[in-house]
């Protein structure tokens, strides 16, 4: 496959920065072109990690949601809505099973499956005020470390956009995605 995507991106960035911007006279156009150049530079740093990012999230969501389903099913006082969400998740896992080699799936399939799992988790989170205290406590114990991982991963993912005052202290996304040169699957 050629040319490399990174070569396309770096070529466009250089052209925008060295040919287009110096010849623009309108401040609005200069401002927008500057953002285009910065975006191209950012894409160079992340484009080859998108698939693995989504694949890792796919596995992490499956692991978390399997535990959440067990929690809901073991609690006889779970609301109708919680039980319905748990049931729809089980149906979803027939479509995207946890024991399958998801890495062979196409990117749009993984991306869509992740979105279904995220929406289901959000539905369960919305139900927390109605949960019995014991169930809510157990649920929070499950999601807190999961949220911490999301926080670290997302912040590392966007640090190249240049907004983060903590960028120097944050890990690179590679450090969070890979262990010993391989995707750090759970």
């Amino acid at each position: 496959m050629g040319p490399e995507i990174s070569q396309f991106l770096s070529g466009m960035k250089k052209t925008v920065e060295q040919v287009v911007i110096p010849n623009l006279t309108d401040r609005f156009a200069q401002e927008q072109a500057g953002i285009v150049a910065a975006t191209l530079g950012y894409l160079e740093t992340i484009h080859d990690k998108v698939f693995h990012y989504e694949l890792l999230e796919n596995q992490l969501y499956k692991q978390l949601l399997a535990s959440v389903i067990t929690l809901i099913e073991n609690d006889s006082s779970s609301s109708q809505k919680l039980n319905t969400t748990a049931e729809s998740l089980k149906q979803h896992f027939k479509h995207d099973p946890s024991d399958e080699n998801t890495a062979l799936r196409a990117y749009p399939f993984i991306r869509a499956s992740n979105e279904v799992m995220k929406e289901s988790l959000c539905d369960i989170i919305q139900e927390q005020p109605e949960m019995p205290k014991a169930l809510r406590d157990q649920f929070e114990t499950l999601i807190k470390p999961f949220f911490k991982d999301i926080e670290l991963r997302e912040r590392a993912w966007v640090k190249g956009l240049g907004f983060d005052s903590e960028a120097d202290q944050l890990p690179d996304i590679d450090e969070l995605l890979y262990r010993d040169g391989k995707l750090a699957l759970p």
Partner: protein, 385 residues
Amino acid sequence: MLSLQQRFPVESAINEIFIRKLRNRHVKVEHSMNFENLHETLTQFIKVQTGQSELFIENLQRLSGGASKEQFTFDLIRKSYNSDAPTTQRLMLRMDPTESVVETHRLREWQMLRAMQGEVPVPEVFWLDLEGEYLGQPAIVAGFLEGTVRPESKEDKMSGIGMYFEPYLRENLKGQFVEILAKIHRVNWREKDLSAFDVPQSNSTQANEWALNQLERAWQEDTTHAHPIMEQAAVWLRENMPVVENPVIIHGDYRSGNFMYDNNLNINAIFDWELAYLGDYHDDVAWASLSIFGGPDEQGNPLAGSLLPIEEFLERYEAASGFPVDRKRLFYYQLFSYYKMAVFTAATSLRVVYSKKTHLDAMMNFASGIGYICISELNRMLEQT
């Protein structure tokens, strides 16, 4: 099943713009960057508003720097009332794009700018096209003021985020920054024409319910990605909502990037009143001191509004306003502020690009980086609860 409108009741004017937004979303027309007809429509609009047929517009130009509205400057040339000699007036047009990173009501902005005349420095507003009858989109024409919003810096990001002021600028501007905020909160809004604002009940959570509902509804309508931390934050904000004893005018976006100063280092304008509402003064205090907005000093210490240390900001605010800053409430509104910023930058900004309804496609994608930092900060704050 309840609709989002039923689940998240908001002020009536805000409800109007939510409905308008969704109607516009179904119209499959991309936002156009071509403004060659604007000269003619703007001229016609001002002729109707002034009743003067002999007037001209020159130097119509798009303004850089904003993030939510399309802004243009122009010179209006017309005869003055007491002389035949033509006068030139520099004006600014502030117009809704087809969909904005934050959907707001031009009448509310118009009324709030008028209410603030003589109270704090604001641009004078002249004409309002509320429904976009003349200009195609709702718009305000206001006076154009000369001054500096963003000092030149290598650290410039966008829309006032992480701005840097040299120490001499900070020393001159910081007191004004705090005093103007205190003045806004002390304005007697009951004496002003603010008919586009619903008045929340005192000694109740109603102001906060409306404010949170507005954001949750925007999140649910706009996001292209479900996010569990955002959902968790909304649950916490709803369960921990403080009572607002005496609602005051909240600017809603009070920070560096939304004020301008002149050559004598006097703040001569406070901008962007579109998010104003009646609520708890802690909201503005929290927003103004949010670390994501304020660039740090030379030693890396966080500054409120890129101007002064946060503790000094709070002390000065208490002294200037006479309102005590309750640290527990401040925590609530800091979390609320990160939630608000995340709705704008991780949901609506990406939606308006997805729908091709914005004039800032590249910027709105780029701004999502701020959104994910805000979501990270939300999680850190939730861990402390």
